[in-house]
Amino acid sequence: PEELAAFQARIDRGERIEPKEWMPEGYRKTLIRQIGQHAHSEIVGQLPEGNWVTRAPTLERKAILLAKVQDEAGHGLYLYSACETLGVSRDELFEKLHSGAMKYSSIFNYPTLTWADMGAVGWLVDGAAIMNQVPLQRTSYGPYARAMIRICKEESFHQRQGYSVMMKMAQGTEAQKAMAQDALNRFWYPALMMFGPSDAESVHSEQNMAWKIKINSNDELRQRFVNETVPQAHYLGLTVPDENLKFNEETGNWDFSQPDWTEFFEVLKGNGPCNEERLGARRKAWDDGEWFRDGLSAYAEKSAARRAAVAAE
């Protein structure tokens, strides 16, 4: 308890907690869950965009998309590393992903059906992710905060690229415009869901806020996202699929409809459009890669033994 008070005081003073320092077990566990889930989301998040890499319409778009997917894998790498500083290995985390014990962001259980989705994912999904992540640059755990700084920089680049795809589509032929509008229709509510249900329903929020693992409320971030995104949609000439969307002069916010939270929980339960396929693809990649990983390990051991033998002579 004394330790706990001292720990809280450090956080309150805005100090960063570093790997080898004392921390409450709950803090550690929550961080592992949160960072791990974020890492998993980066990895699974390669798949919906990977789905269009081989069909990208120009060489430049293909290169941009490849670079983006590569960045996501890189983000996964930083985040798993941050997680490892908390005493859990990357392989353990993978196992939990594959068994379903750990989750990834539900948004990646939606399919990418047209090229416009490469725009919508960048614009809306990365946009929502950034909204979530920017405050986390000030999170209390050092390695996590530093990973976030690096990630946010790249993400905002991705978001601009997504918006530029969307722009091309929205200003393109009738067919392209239709694809752009359809992509917005399909991704709008799932993007709103990315902030999670209203905090009123969340039991952990308060403690996480005290620990500065969570900085803002879900509803607050969601509102910020809507406020930022609606004018962008208008600029693109697209219609946000919400009849109740209206600028509220009093609050200065855009009023909007809540997403269908039943759908959200169904997707969490595994009943989303792509849950089986996404997790299946990751499991298959892992299982198919076993001989590859074993081969590299065996080589490393042999090499070490050879070096030791040479050194012993």
């Binding site: 069909r55 490849l66 670079a67 997917v69 032929t173 198919d288 074993d294 590299l296 080589y299």
Partner: protein
């Protein structure tokens, strides 16, 4: 390589540039199919990176091909609006990926060629070619380091990884000869000092490859290497058509649209 590059037949030069560009494009495409499905995270990153580099080379080679042709075609036009008969890549690069071991073995066999080719092209009599080669060489040298290192580690890893790599080598071997079978286009390029004689590249490739294979405890196949040729002249395997159907869909379905 010091003859007059300006005298070369422009049609042959165009064809030769398409060979360079199409090799990069199709191998880049195959590599990009791995996106998100690699055996370890580091490999996901490396494969995406390789694909990205190759697409970058494609833009340069096909861009120059379009200039040389002088018919107003861009790199994208060439990549997205030619059918299989007009593609000039070797068959090796269009074969399916297979498992990750096959993917790496194919990349290694091609990288060794690509590396020696670009090294020679840096001294091309055509300054535009030399410039592209210099830019690409750095990346391809890295790719070769990576793929040959993995071939060694997997070849000399477990019994299973050894056997898979040996099988992969046998599988691709009969496709390697095509890289060195010179035709009139290759000869014209060599004559003009634009590109090296393929026989030179072949002997360097032999050395590079056999050194790595020995270190990897893999045995060089005795089968003929030149069984599968024709890709450079536009006679491909049945696989290329499927690649193009997928790759070109949007450009074909929405002609004239901008992306």
């Amino acid at each position: 390589m010091a003859l007059d590059a300006t005298q070369v037949d422009q049609k042959a030069l165009f064809d030769w540039l398409c060979r360079m560009g199409d090799n990069a494009l199709i191998l880049g495409h195959r590599t990009s199919e791995w996106c998100g499905h690699g055996p370890v995270l580091e490999e996901d990153i490396a494969l995406a990176n390789t694909a990205l580099d190759l697409i970058g080379h494609t833009q340069m080679w096909l861009g120059l091909a379009g200039e040389v042709e002088g018919a107003g075609r861009t790199a994208d036009n060439l990549a997205y609006l030619r059918d299989a008969m007009q593609f000039r890549n070797v068959k090796l690069v269009e074969l399916p990926n297979g498992d990750i071991g096959q993917t790496i073995m194919r990349e290694f066999l091609f990288d060794a060629f690509h590396f020696e080719m670009l090294t020679a092209l840096v001294a091309s009599a055509d300054a535009r070619v030399a410039e592209i080669a210099a830019k690409a060489l750095k990346e391809v040298a890295y790719q070769f380091d990576r793929s040959s290192d993995l071939v060694v580690r997997l070849g000399d890893g477990t019994a299973e990884s050894h056997d898979r790599m040996q099988a992969a080598l046998e599988h691709f071997w009969p496709y390697t000869g095509e890289m060195f079978v010179a035709d009139a286009v290759d000869e014209a390029m060599a004559q003009a000092g634009i590109a090296p004689a393929l026989s030179e590249i072949e002997s360097r490739w032999d050395t590079l490859v056999s050194e790595t294979l020995a270190e990897a405890t893999l045995v060089c196949p005795e089968r003929r290497a030149d069984v599968h040729t024709g890709g450079k002249q536009g006679r491909h395997t049945e696989h290329l058509g499927y690649i193009l159907a997928e790759m070109q869909f949007l450009q074909r379905a929405y002609p004239g649209a901008e992306w």
